[in-house]
Symmetry: none
Subunit: 221 residues, 2 copies
DNA sequence: ATAAAGAGTAAGGTAATCGTAAGGTAAGCT
DNA sequence: AGCTTACCTTACGATTACCTTACTCTTTAT
């Protein structure tokens, strides 16, 4: 069904696989540019397959699942699926999502300046390469491992809200739970290093109920 | 009756069906781009038919009903009708709604693709990534967790009616009940942030008996 | 072995956000 | 027109999410 939709849109070299083992085999042989993966398969679930895939290739994956299962959605995206679509869907939607995935994977739009890991928060300079924070008064701090991981994540998503879960994940990996308090403590310590007044943050802002965001980061003074 | 109105407007390939079984058959054969569905049918009600339809296709559906009580049922069932219209109606209104449904289903305004979380309500800019509302006069508001969840849901279904149940579900999860009033309060607070005149909303519209809908959202100024 | 730095835990405090209630308004129905 | 219901609006009290500090434990370097 999916195949015919994509063929109509002009996609070529569409390889279909009926189950897990078959798809593992054709994946190795064909090295596809993109994978469309159904959750429910005759010989295993899509999640395990996705995890396997991820260990050997960063190929973009569009996840396909039955209607309205939020859990499946979150799980899929958590495992590194690039996008997610629920059945039933309109042919147009599938095509749009595939195209979006392909374009952002193979023609990434690197906006503006190169990913310099040096930036400024007001008068404070932060160099992620060396992990050094330099204040306007000349005072220097070095970032600890956790502080570094958190600040880097926030800087990657500068201006955007980063959820607590997401931050915990970058700092501790899988076992997210019960680290929320620890996260707060680390945020406090980060603030003590980068904020003029740690108790009235201007850059490392908390978004109550959602997470944190790094605001007002500049590439140059 | 509906057929003649639409023909006058230049629509072609209009397939009519007198009852449920007939429409089931022609739906499979013709794969229409849009369905107009009357509640009262000789051999069953429209609700069941709509639910059946939904299991196999997310085709856009305009619901046609005479009675208020039908709206209540639509609400209760949480069925995914894309819009509804009450009889009697003006020909022009039917046409406008059909066109709106078609355009937002088949020509979703996705320019570029990934900038989907920034949109405009008149002069007001809303960035869901950062959770910030920027008014024309430069005034900025940040969205709270609940406001964020609700606005996000409404934006996902921009132009469509989102039932109260559905909104409550996204904000509170399972225990929906007795939160209706709270929902109203949050809608009010949202309106105070995004509407020029919160008491005479132009974008966050209430649909009496059903829920709310976000109307007039644009991708660019 | 000892000191120092980093990471995590716990407990008390605070304020933004949320939810409730109560009175008011407008739309739809008989 | 009057009645009913659904929704609006406001203010206030409660909650909970987050802050903050101090203490412990682990690791690493001297």
């Amino acid at each position: 069904m999916v195949k015919t939709i994509l063929q109509k849109e002009g996609f070529r070299q569409i390889i279909t696989a009926a189950d897990c083992s078959q798809s593992r085999q054709s994946f190795k042989e064909e090295k596809p540019d993109c994978v469309i993966l159904d959750v429910s398969l005759p010989d295993g679930d899509g999640f395990t397959l996705l995890r396997e895939l991820r260990t050997e290739s960063p190929v973009p994956v569009l996840f396909l699942s039955a209607r309205d299962e939020d859990q499946a959605r979150l799980l899929g995206l958590g495992l590194g699926a690039d996008d997610y679509i629920t059945k039933p869907f309109l042919p147009l939607e599938l095509v749009l999502r595939i195209k979006a995935i392909l374009s952002r994977t193979y023609f990434p739009l690197d906006k503006g300046g190169d990913n310099r890991s040096r930036f400024y928060l007001g008068e404070t300079e932060i160099d992620l390469d060396s992990g050094v924070v330099m204040r306007a008064d000349g005072e220097q701090y070095t970032l600890t491992a956790k502080e570094f991981a958190l600040l880097e994540k926030l800087h990657e998503n500068a201006g955007k809200i980063v959820t607590i879960d997401s931050l915990c994940h970058t700092a501790w990996g899988e076992n997210i739970y019960r680290y929320e308090n620890t996260l707060m403590v680390h945020m406090r310590r980060l603030r003590e290093k980068v904020e003029p007044d740690p108790s009235a943050p201007r850059y490392l802002l908390t978004v109550r109920g959602l997470g944190y965001k790094l605001d007002g980061a500049k590439d140059s003074k």
